[in-house]
Every structure is written in C-alpha cells, then in structure tokens.
Point group: C2
Chain length 392, copies 2
C-alpha cells in the first residue's frame, strides 16, 4: 500500500519544521503506516519528503532493507553507536545517533505524534534538535482517509467478523436451559468464555487475530467495557462485540449485536427498539461534510426524546447512553474521526462505527454496532448481519 | 496480585520527586502492573505511596471503582473537564485536569516511564509540573522480579506453549513429501501459515492469545524475525518460535525449537549441535549475582570457538549469532533483564529466555530457546520439551 502523504507535506510546511519523527514499534499504527515495516521493537522513522528508517541495533536492518517502503534504511553502526555507547551509555548514545542521523539529512527540527516517547524527545533536545509534539497527530489524520485498498482490507475483516458472529449466534440459539436459567449446550453450561473461544477460533480460521472479545450477559452487559464471564442466562441480554484484525493486512473490523435467548423483558425489548432507531438515525445523518457531533446528536435525540439520560444531557450519568456514538477504524480499532460531541468533519474514505447503546444494572445492556465507509454522496454500510434480539 | 512497590518508594526518594506518573492504556505493562486495571484506552495512574487513578472521560470510571487495585479513582468531571475543554480545547483541558489532580494530592514533580507521551509531559510542564523521564524505567525494574504467583502464571502459559509446539511437531512429523520437496499433509501442502493456524488454535484452546508466531523454513529461517510463509520443505530447518499470552493472567511464555523433516545437511546438524551447546553453556552460567553479559558471553564463546561470527566478535556481521542470548519475560514478551552484552545483574525471581541461534541464507537458521526462572541458588528451567532436530 502506497499512502498519499501530500497532507503530511502540507502539515510540515505549515508547522515550519524540517521533518516528522516517529519512534515506536509497528504495533503503533502511525509507525506501520509511515514506514511500511513490521517490527516488534521500537525503531525510528523520519519523514522529510522521503521516508527514512533508522535502527539503533542491527537485528532488523537486513530485513528492513529488503521489505520496508523507504527511501533509505540506516543503522546505529553507521553513526558510531558502539563507540558512543561506551562513552555516554546506551541512552545518550541513542539520542546522539538519532541526532546525527537527522543532521545527516539536514533536519534540525521535527514534529512528532502526541504520544512520542518523552525520553527520546528530551534526549534529542539536549543534542540541539527542536522537538514539538504535534497537537492532533498529522499521520493519524492522514490515516483517517482510507484508500480503496484499505477499504477492501476492512471489508475482508468484517466478513470474518460476520462468520464469527454467526457462530456465536448459532451456539446461543442451539442452547437449552437448566433449572437455574443457565444456557446449556452439549451437556455443559454455555459460558461467556466458551462462546468467546469459538468466536476466536472462527476468526483465526478466517485469517484474523484478536486479543479481546466481549460476550457480556445480564449485569456484565450493563458495563460497556466488561468483557463478560461465567454462564450465559436465558431471558437476559447478551452483548457480543467483536473487533478482529486481519493478520495479513493488519486492518480491523468491528461489529456488535445483542441477543436474547428465551423471553426478553418488556424493558429490554423497548431498549432494543430504541437502540436500533438510534443506530438508524445516526447512520442517516452520515455524509461528507457533516460534523460528527451531528451524527452523535441524532442518536442522543432518540434516547433523550424517550426520556433516557445521555452523556450529552447529563455528563455525570452512569446509566443510559454513556459513551459516544462511534469511532474511526483502520490499523487501530479506535482512531480518527471520533463520532462524538467533540465533532470532526466527515470526509469520503472515513471508516466509522455507529454503535449506540443503553446500560443500566437493572435492565442489563443493549448495543448495536455497524461499520460504515463515508462515500462521495453518503455512506456504504460494510456490515451484512441481521439485527434481531430474540434468537431462540 | 499485590505488587511489592518498596523499590518504587526508594526510587522516588532517590530521584527527589513527589510521584511516578503513567499515561497509557493497559497494553502498557507498567500501567497494568501499577494500576491493576485493564482498559483499552489511555488513562492516568499516579503513584505517590498510594496508587491513584484518573480517567479524563467517564466511560471506565464505574468499572475502575469496582475493579482497580487503587487507593483513589477520580475522573475529569471532578476537576471541571467539560468547562476547561470549552475554554481551552480538549488537549489543554486534559493537561489542566491532570495538573489539578496532581495538585490535589500535593504532587508538584513526577518521574515517568521513558516512553511517557511527550504531549502530556509538555502540557503538564506548561501547568508548572516538573516532569522527568525516568532513565531506566523504575516500574519496569520492579516488574523484572517476579512473585511466586507471577512465576505460576508464566509456568501455566509455558504448558500451553508446549501443547502448541507438540501440535506443530506432530503436523511436520506426519507429513509426506511431494516431487518439489514440499511437505504435504491430508492431501494439501503444509505451509507455514497452516502450521501457525494450528498452533494458535491450540493456544486459544488452552486459554492463551497471541498475535504473532514464527514458523520459518529454509531461507526465511535465516532471518531471526521473519515469521515465515509458504510451503515447508523437507531437509530444511524449520524454526518455530511461540510466545503466547495467557488471557486471564496476561503473562507470557516463550519457546523456540528447530525441526527438520527428512535429512538435515551436515552443516545444519553441526549448527544444531553447536546451538544446543551454546544454550547449555549459557544456562549453566545462570545464577543470582551473575551479570548477564557473562551468560551471553558463554553462548558467544561456543560459537566463536567454532569459528563462527557473533555480534560480540563483529558488530556489523549479518550472519552467525546476530542477536543477544535472551530477554526477561512477564507482562511483556521482552522486558528486563536483557541477557546481552550490556549486562544486568541476575536476581532471584528474574524470568529470562536463553535462545542462542545461528543464521545464514546459505544454511538457513537454527534457534533453541528455553525459559528459566532465576532461583536463590541457581535456576529452574520452566521448559519441558525435548530438543531434537530430526522429527521424521
């Protein structure tokens, strides 16, 4: 993938700095996006119109020369790292090597991502380099607008996600109920952990990795970030939120559905209806040029009109709609633009989730999440999965 | 798990600062260790003799109050975040909220991990807080010494690792060979990707997650960080390096074996023998009080005595023993102490890998890796897996 970095050129011009500097491993999406190189330990990438990589140590140097999408690849040995480490110790040696590398490319001032490591920044400042944390994350902003290739990666990950969701739904539908109201399948209690394992095996079989999946039932579901544990219960809401990463492309997908085995309460049915309406209202608001607080507001309106609290109507509420409507998604599960009260302008190529929800320990929780790409004239919903509460 | 933070108290005394500040999500091992709280988005933890959590936004606040191992849990609303965001914008508001939080606990100066985010540091400095990146990572140093409970977590993860390695070995042993020398199993070519998938499914079934596994054959194996791809070949070395994380405890394990289906070349047999001797020599050097450069040196000696280059004998070599002998392991796959030329003093409770290897595109690669805990009078090898090159 060849990213379009003209926006980054413009940023450097406006900021009046010579280059953009990243010091991170490839789990950092800015690093992976800019360097095009996948390494488990931190390395340095400079963008000064060209992409230039620096490895303080040699381990990745040979592979980077072959694989990285970079104009130049250099290493500590090119700047006397070993001698400097003897004289100044490894940390100051690293600062001096990076400063010498910058100097050799005529770079005396750099902007960095907001979460650039403080030790590197202060070390470079001591060597006379001007280092300024970029307020909003210029590379993160570039990444927010996806190419067609990136959208295909995300679509592919969402197909795997749908297969995993179908597997989870199948397990819940097929379950019986024991005397305690617990779901039972093939003679054993169906737990959150067991459904999670089947989801994750399905994702692996579809080329995706993942670290966390939410299968949260009843009171667990009342907390948006509770991953869930223990037996799943009949008549209770079960929130399933899956956000895999395709192992080859490294791009994510994201989807949430809420299921109920048995007989949902009246309150739960109402919440589900409302949340689906909030989802629809927010989606209908999506088009290029719209501020995301308007999209978020459309979801809040539905809930507030029904007399339920939102963080917009009460910033301290702990029940009701207690998160934002969505987030950008790509190399990171959560990235720009945020679909929230803060508001950012939607542009074609933005990929966002729309995921309103309601939470209250008395009722449980409901969340429904689709994944959309903003198009030239509106949106395309990348999610192909039914929205049904009762599954058995 | 209740960590022993007396070493951190001593660090704060020596550094002459009021507190230790972390701003990261729980993927950051220092954050998870200090806060005892698992959250996917960055939050702030202060240690000033007590552990104190601050959430700028409210989403995790309720759960943190219930779950975190913290003296106090506060949120942005307690320090007027919304009003400040209106007046100063979200970034400066965040700095002002964190500064007010520190001020309310009488903290005017903080040390931070080396990779603390620059934007937060500079923002706090503007609010009059003294912020200094801790040179070596005081929390990381505390984490290096494991409690018995942590060692049990690592042992449990290594058992899962052994099951996954056995599954991989079983697939390779059971394979036939086609006319191109490719391994074939159940009518299909046995690829690196297929073995990786079976390893990862096995790990999931044993409660572990993981993101990367190395199954590298032939020329791929000549690069220590190449994850491998494509058909596995008979008569060639296949390096399998697995480093899972137990999903519940979040602690890792790590093991590497090198297998050969068919008939290893004379060179490959020699390299395997040498590497096993280097492994033994390094392990025999492990005891409390020993510097890790001595352990690394024991492995280098074996290779250098056989006339093979190491990074110690030639810092620019791209073949031979081109990495360090091992690394600490715990919440991070790679953590302190490094078993390398830089040298750190081994202490009881350190968990380290010993993983010498040889690499050359002409021969391929060989690596053998065990996982050890340093005990009061030596070491215990946490790895229970045979070391055999030829498997079929």
């Amino acid at each position: 993938m060849e990213p379009d970095l003209t926006q980054l050129d413009e940023y450097l011009d406006e900021a009046g700095v010579d280059g953009y500097l990243v010091d991170a491993d490839s789990e950092d999406a800015d690093q992976y996006y800019l360097s095009g190189f996948d390494a488990p330990d931190p390395f340095v990438t400079l963008y000064d119109g060209d992409v230039r990589l620096l490895f303080t140590r040699s381990l990745e140097y040979g592979r980077a020369k072959k694989e990285a999408r970079a104009e130049t690849v250099e290493r500590g040995a090119d700047f006397g790292y070993a001698e400097k480490a003897q004289e100044y110790g490894p940390q100051e040696a690293r600062s001096r090597v990076i400063a010498a590398f910058l100097d050799s490319h005529g770079v005396g001032s750099v902007a960095t991502p907001p979460r650039f490591p403080l030790q590197t920044a202060d070390g470079l400042r001591e060597q006379g380099i001007e280092v300024t944390a970029d307020d909003s994350g210029a590379v993160t902003e570039v990444r927010a607008t996806k190419t067609d290739e990136e959208i295909e990666y995300i679509r592919e990950a969402q197909r795997a996600n749908e297969a995993a969701m179908a597997r989870a739904e199948e397990l819940i539908s097929a379950a019986e109920t024991n005397a305690d109201g617990e779901l039972v399948l093939d003679g054993a209690v169906l737990t959150s952990e067991r459904v999670t394992e089947e989801i994750e095996v399905t994702l692996l079989r579809h080329g995706c990795a993942l670290d966390e999946t939410i299968v949260a039932c009843g009171a667990d579901a009342a907390d948006p970030h509770d991953r869930g544990s223990g037996p799943l219960l009949t008549d209770e809401p079960i929130i399933i939120d899956i956000f895999p990463r395709n192992k080859r492309s490294r791009y994510h997908a994201d989807m949430t559905r809420t299921f109920c085995h048995g007989d949902p309460s009246e309150a739960l049915r109402e919440w589900f209806e409302l949340t689906d309406r909030a989802r629809e209202a927010a989606i209908e608001a999506v088009e290029p040029g719209v501020e995301t607080d308007v999209v978020h507001g459309a979801a809040c309106d539905v809930y507030e009109d029904a007399g339920l609290p939102t963080l917009r109507s009460d910033p301290t509420t702990e029940t009701g709609f207690i998160h934002s409507t969505g987030h950008g998604l790509g190399l990171d599960v959560h990235e720009m633009p945020s679909v929230a009260e803060s508001g950012e302008t939607l542009q074609p190529g933005h990929v966002i989730t729309i995921e309103p929800g309601l939470y209250d320990p008395e009722v449980g929780g409901v969340r429904i999440e689709d994944l959309l790409v903003v198009t030239e004239d509106g949106y395309e919903n990348l999610t192909e999965y039914d929205i049904e509460l009762a599954v058995a």
